[in-house]
């Protein structure tokens, strides 16, 4: 051996504070996290300067995707079971015919009069189906509803 190995000094770092902080963060994230709701179809939201926050409970969402297909979703599982049948209660939203939408909206509102209506359309969704949906909303006397958008910077 030509070289003499340097003797390493063993040292210990107290990890306790770091672990404490990590646990604290973990608890925080576990408490506050909300999982992105599963969606039946991918939606790219249009941008606007509107500042009203989206309500989270007691909502029903009418979704129109890029191809102009309509979906209806409600947040409560019991209501879903009533509207779409017991076997579909775990699905967040169901594709509905625009003719069936009329009756489903009325039924949903009878079950839960507090329901607020959200219209969620894809940026590139054709306006035709949207107009039909707005027309149906007018027919079932939902005159106040929200359009979901993404906040546009500047």
């Amino acid at each position: 051996m030509p070289k003499i190995k340097k003797k390493r000094v063993g040292f210990k770092i107290d990890m306790t504070p770091m672990v404490d902080v990590a646990m604290l963060l973990l608890t925080f994230f576990m408490m506050t996290t909300q999982f992105r709701p599963e969606e039946a179809t991918a939606i790219e939201l249009p941008a606007s300067h509107a500042l009203v926050k989206m309500p989270e409970t007691d909502v029903m969402v009418v979704t129109v995707n890029k191809e102009g297909r309509t979906f209806l979703g409600v947040d409560a599982q019991s209501l879903r079971a009533q509207l779409f049948g017991e076997s579909n209660k775990l699905r967040p939203s169901m594709e509905v015919d625009r003719r069936a939408l009329h009756d489903l909206l009325i039924q949903a509102r009878i079950q839960n009069p507090k329901l607020r209506t959200l219209v969620k359309g894809d940026k590139e969704a054709p306006y035709g189906p949207i107009e039909d949906v707005l027309d149906i909303l007018r027919q079932v006397k939902i005159t106040r509803f929200n359009l979901v958008t993404e906040f546009e910077k500047n």
Partner: protein, 178 residues
């Protein structure tokens, strides 16, 4: 790493003379490393999956019935019509073309970026003005949102949505031709 030690050993012989023999405590060392590893794993998972930005919404009030028509003087009715332009932009997205007219006057073209100022000015000129928005069925949802956003930014409160009829389409064609 993090470890817990129980320091019970030192006093075990302090009261050896007593009748009742105290149970001897064993010093326990728990290795916390796996737990901390899992905790970190979970922490990373939650940090990556959580999302804070909630989507915003735009509130819209529509008149309850189409039958309940309101009589408006022609000079107080500003119609904004939006239709997709004949040519698309290179990426294939529909471009909105905006036309305006008051009453039954012929329609005029206006650039979308000038619309906000235009609406503010018109409403200042005539506070009784009612804006009617008509969007072509061939247009996109984005056009509606953009238009309503502009209307909201221009602080126009008296507006309504209406269907685009054949008459409206002819007006647009005329405006394009001129």
């Amino acid at each position: 790493m993090a470890a817990v030690e129980s320091g019970g050993e030192s006093r075990s012989h302090a009261r050896a003379g007593k009748k009742h023999k105290k149970k001897r405590r064993l010093s326990i060392r728990i290795d916390m490393t796996p737990m901390v590893d899992v905790a970190f794993l979970l922490l990373t998972f939650f940090m990556l999956t959580t999302y804070f930005s909630k989507p915003q919404t735009m509130e819209l009030n529509l008149p309850p019935d189409e039958k309940s028509q309101v009589e408006v003087a022609e000079s107080n009715l500003l119609t904004i019509r939006v239709a997709p332009a004949l040519t698309r932009d290179p990426s294939g997205v529909k471009i909105a073309e905006v036309f305006w007219n008051i009453g039954t006057e012929p329609a005029n073209r206006i650039e979308q970026k000038d619309l906000r100022k235009f609406l503010t000015d018109k409403n200042k000129e005539n506070p009784k003005l009612i804006t009617l928005l008509k969007i072509d069925r061939d247009g996109s949802y984005d056009m509606l949102i953009k238009l309503m956003d502009i209307v909201a930014l221009a602080k126009v409160e008296r507006f309504s949505l209406a269907q685009m009829t054949l008459y409206d389409k002819r007006q647009i064609e005329k405006a394009r031709g001129s």
